[in-house]
Symmetry: C2
């Protein structure tokens, strides 16, 4: 399940999902009896960071209605380990929840990103000043697909060393914390970490590793 | 880490988070050097399902700017087990990602919910027709707190039996699937399940259970 970064050519995430065919798969067949038909689609609101899209849709029972959702770029989330096996965390203010958040380095794909692995390396370096010795993709999830089309691509970075300069966006102020992995894992399981993308990335790494 | 439902009086989630004080905690101190100051706040856009809020803020370096985020109610996510230990899943169309999604029963808190456990029982019954014999809260996370203020409260429901009638919203059409737990867990780890809130709920249950 863990791809080497050489296979991560942008659409690698989808390829990983599409080639399986078991009963536990998600289906993407638009011929499914549950499928909606989209008759029109437009951006209904735009602001820095995301858009709101409104689609005109026809439900399976023929009802015509509209549906609004948040449209934003795909993102990478990085679980970075130092050579000693500690985890590099970021602490930053999250206005949406009104508190300082502990989480993993993360950020949106940008138009000039060659692939998602390059984006993961960039976000790690920009947010923490650490550069990754190696990088593996763990998997991809949609964090809240009832409301938004976001996709989070999770990576594990190993042998991360503080060799770069932090390069933050104008409204980012990020404090770096390095903690033992077992403490971070415990916080992800017991609820002391509230950042869902960090919790998901850590739990998935833990369980994937046990099965490797 | 798992609360009995009798302790889930609406704000139980916050109480669980606030009473800890270890180095792996999130901080909510507005006196933190990273804290932003909010000088005004208003709904800038509204649609069915969510609002977009715009806050006027002052950053730690004194910069005055604004920040937009999605404002929506808290939600419950239920991992329901049958008496045989199988998992009750839901399949429904997700317009934001254009496909049928496999996930867990879930829904937003409503104004007349007495507590979040009652909301979990209601959403399970309405979406699947199954009623829970017992319910435990596993924990709460913010799925994407850079973009939205959503909080997902995760529950485990046991001894679920098909004794209720599905009661769906006008734009919901949901197919129920019952699958062996080990298959669902494998799909959550290997990426065949793409629904992040389902993946997070399953992985956290798995790891919490091992430590219980």
């Amino acid at each position: 399940m863990v791809d080497d970064e050489t296979t991560d050519e942008g659409d690698g995430a989808d390829a990983t999902m599409d080639d399986a065919d078991t009963s536990t798969d998600d289906s993407d067949a638009s011929t499914d009896e549950l499928a909606w038909r989209t008759t029109d689609s437009a951006i209904d609101y735009a602001c820095p960071g995301f858009d709101v899209r409104m689609d005109d849709v026809t439900l399976p029972d023929g009802t015509e209605t509209d549906f609004h959702y948040v449209d934003e770029p795909e993102a990478v989330v990085v679980l970075p380990f130092t050579p000693d096996g500690d985890v590099v965390l970021v602490e930053e203010w999250r206005q949406a929840v009104g508190r300082v958040n502990r989480g993993l380095p993360a950020g949106s794909l940008e138009p000039d990103d060659d692939d998602i692995a390059a984006a993961a390396r960039r976000e790690l370096a920009e947010e923490t000043g650490f550069e990754a010795g190696s990088l593996e993709r763990v998997g991809s999830v949609e964090p809240a697909n009832g409301l938004l089309n976001s996709v989070h691509h999770h990576f594990v970075a190993r042998d991360c060393e503080p060799t770069a300069e932090q390069e933050l966006d104008f409204n980012e102020s990020i404090r770096v914390a390095v903690e033992p992995y077992e403490d971070v894992l415990a916080a992800a399981v017991d609820g002391h970490l509230r950042d869902g993308r960090a919790v998901l990335g850590i739990l998935r790494y833990e369980l994937a590793g046990r099965w490797r």
